[in-house]
């Protein structure tokens, strides 16, 4: 019997791999966002569909312009686009959406060194720049949920040209979002509608239930660290309960606080982005807690109606510090073997 003849390949240990990969993680995130995306299109119609599509295309374009063509394969640009689209008001002029998408990837991602480099979530960078550049549009491009004709026609504002005022006033379709209403002292939406998502709001942040389901799916698949949303939502719940207990007039109750605004989207899909969250498990708790506290403080005590975006940005700014505080300590040198 002779030895097997072969050209052996030299590789280094370990020769096994768990199998999880970055593109897979992106894919599962997209799957988790699918229900809420479809729901958004059903509720807000063509406006939502166009917003999401344009956001994704703009991100892909920027990725193609800034990185090697193969970088598109990892799916991260698509996910950024989807998240950005979901976080924008449905009737935002589409050229603004495109600017936001391009900026998100070109500046938010590639200026920081590409995949793995960003300090802030690229989609949030896109959104915050739109917020700064076009505050009026961002504050008013809301669409009434389940409006008649939503699937057959685009709101005029969506098609507005650059450097021109929208062809129709926002008021034609817009209504106050629940948080704006509460802040103004008016009655917000009923809690049930809030959780289901039959309210005005950003494309993909209205249905807390579907976002929760998607987030839990990711957590079960171990694609995200469950500690972050748990700490974040837990903190929001605890602080809201406290404030509501102190002054029920001015502060919403817990279920309203949890179900409104971009909280669920932010907690499950933005805050958990591996690149911007701490690397240690202990750090994840601190990070979630900090963002949760910031959300409540901003919502209740600042001029902003919606604090989630800024809370997330501040939270990720904390990440390097949290990483330093929670740096793992190597096991003490062991016994002589």
């Amino acid at each position: 019997m002779t030895s097997p003849t072969c050209r052996l390949r030299l590789s280094t240990s370990p020769h096994l791999h768990a199998g999880a990969a970055v593109p897979q993680w992106m894919l599962h995130s997209v799957i988790a966002l699918l229900p809420v995306t479809l729901f958004a299109v059903a509720v807000f119609g063509l406006a939502a569909l166009a917003t999401i599509t344009v956001a994704i295309l703009a991100c892909l374009l920027a990725e193609r312009a800034c990185a090697a063509p193969s970088a598109l394969d990892d799916g991260s640009a698509m996910l950024t686009g989807l998240l950005l689209g979901l976080s924008l008001p449905p009737a935002l002029p589409l050229w603004m959406v495109a600017v936001g998408g391009f900026v998100a990837v070109a500046i938010g991602k590639h200026l920081f060194g590409g995949l793995g480099g960003p300090v802030f979530h690229p989609a949030l960078v896109g959104r915050v720049i739109l917020q700064a550049a076009f505050p009026t549009a961002m504050a008013q491009a809301w669409v009434t949920p389940l409006a008649p004709g939503r699937v057959s026609e685009l709101p005029a504002t969506s098609l507005a040209q650059p450097f021109m005022s929208p062809t129709a006033p926002y008021d034609g379709l817009s209504g106050a979002t629940p948080l704006t209403a509460t802040k103004a002292g008016e009655a917000g939406a009923p809690t049930a509608d809030l959780w289901l998502g039959i309210v005005a709001g950003s494309v993909g942040e209205t249905s807390a239930v579907l976002l929760l389901l998607g987030g839990v799916y990711l957590a079960i698949r171990r694609m995200i660290d469950w500690r972050i949303p748990v700490a974040l939502l837990g903190t929001v719940a605890a602080l809201s309960a406290l404030l509501h207990g102190l002054d029920a007039e001015r502060h919403p109750e817990v279920w309203t606080a949890l179900g409104s605004g971009g909280l669920m989207l932010g907690a499950w899909f933005f805050a958990t982005d591996p690149g911007i969250s701490p690397t240690t498990r202990r750090g994840a708790w601190i990070y979630g807690l900090a963002i949760g506290a910031l959300v409540v403080v901003m919502r209740q005590f600042s001029g902003h109606v919606e604090g989630v975006m800024y809370a997330l940005l501040l939270g990720s700014a904390l990440t390097p510090h949290i990483d330093r505080w929670t740096r793992p300590r190597p096991l003490p040198k062991g016994v002589e073997r």
Binding site: M1, C6, H17, L115, L331, G334
Partner: protein, 449 residues
Amino acid sequence: MFRHRTSFSGGIKLAMPDRIAADAVVRQMPFAPLLRLPLRQHAGAAAVAVVRAGEEVLRGQLLARAEDETAVPLHAPATGRVVRIGEQSDGAGGTVGVIELAPLPGDTQEQARERTFDADRLDADELLAAIREAGIIGLGGERGPTHQRLQRARKRGVAVLVINGIEGEPGFTRVPALLARHGSDVISGARFLGKVLGSQDAVLAVEKPDANSASAMLADSENHDRPVLAVLRPRYPQGAAELLVRTLARRPVEGIPAFNAEKAMVFSLATVAEIGRLLSHGLTMTDQLITLAGDGLRDTGNYRVPLGTPVGFALAQAGAHSELDRVLDGGPMRGHALGHLDRPITKGATGFVAMVANEQASLPEPMACIRCGECVAACPLQLHPAELGLLARRGEIQAMVEDWHLERCFECGCCAYVCPSHIPLVQMFRAAKKQSRRAKALAAGEEPA
């Protein structure tokens, strides 16, 4: 009945193949036409040949004598003729002496008893000498001369003997084989070691899949001072001595008094069984129990292989696929890939994995680190592989060593195993360690190795 505990954070759950009864089977490997025996098969000095080319030797007979405290003697693995005494590459840029032996076909291969003694009557010093004369080295991952470790341990004082019955790598099945076939050797080996060390307690640590065979083995023993059993939840790399001692010392399992980690000493189950087997019968080390595994073999399992058998011959006997892609010396997590198959199987071998080319075998190109922290959570020593990886990429070796404890890494592979970006972390750390040692040697004015 058993508590399952681990007290190291991190590590990974590896998909272990189901343990079946066949795992306890040990097949005898026939003699290869030519056995090659390096004179140094462990860390330490080489042995010095005492035979000449052309001489006929008996199985078990002394071939090379240990002249140095760090050396162990080498015995003939087969009755046969010494064909050649020469040099071969040691794989690290140097050469090492080698004896080539052609077994005599048709011989009974009865092992010549070098010594006759009643091991149970030997005192500690005599046992220590007998262990050295039998040519025993560590058979777990540690491949140093066993007598040397024992001498150091005696100076230090050891209270607890820990027998490491944890399968080091996925796919390896030496533990069930040793428990089923060598139960009495394990018990007597533990007794001899206890005597040498003057230790009071012995603990046998196994993982859940081997719990039943371990307790059956202990129950069979008529001896009263048999080891206490500790059953642990399977988790890689629990078998690393450092982690195992922590686990056992920190959170005592039922029946074992808590002990001071400093006062424990770990021996692999294979070493303990070998000590029992050889000393009880006055034999010398002539063969090795190894696992042959991998999708490139038809007859995977445990084999008793004569020392000096070429890896290729052993794989062929186990029904190797004609087109192997990779052959690993050791398991899939820590083993290293062999460049050719003429290498002989030596004393420290634990097993080989033969793999055919398939999709799983080739990993995708590494991507950028996304700082997901999976590696941090997986590191059993609580190092920071992600940070180490970023520093390695920037060439900041000094920071890796001084600030991030690179030298503690024992290359278990957990970080690279979980990395979703497929970054070859272990490879980078290995290179960085080498570079750091070079730099240190240069700074000390030495010729870099």
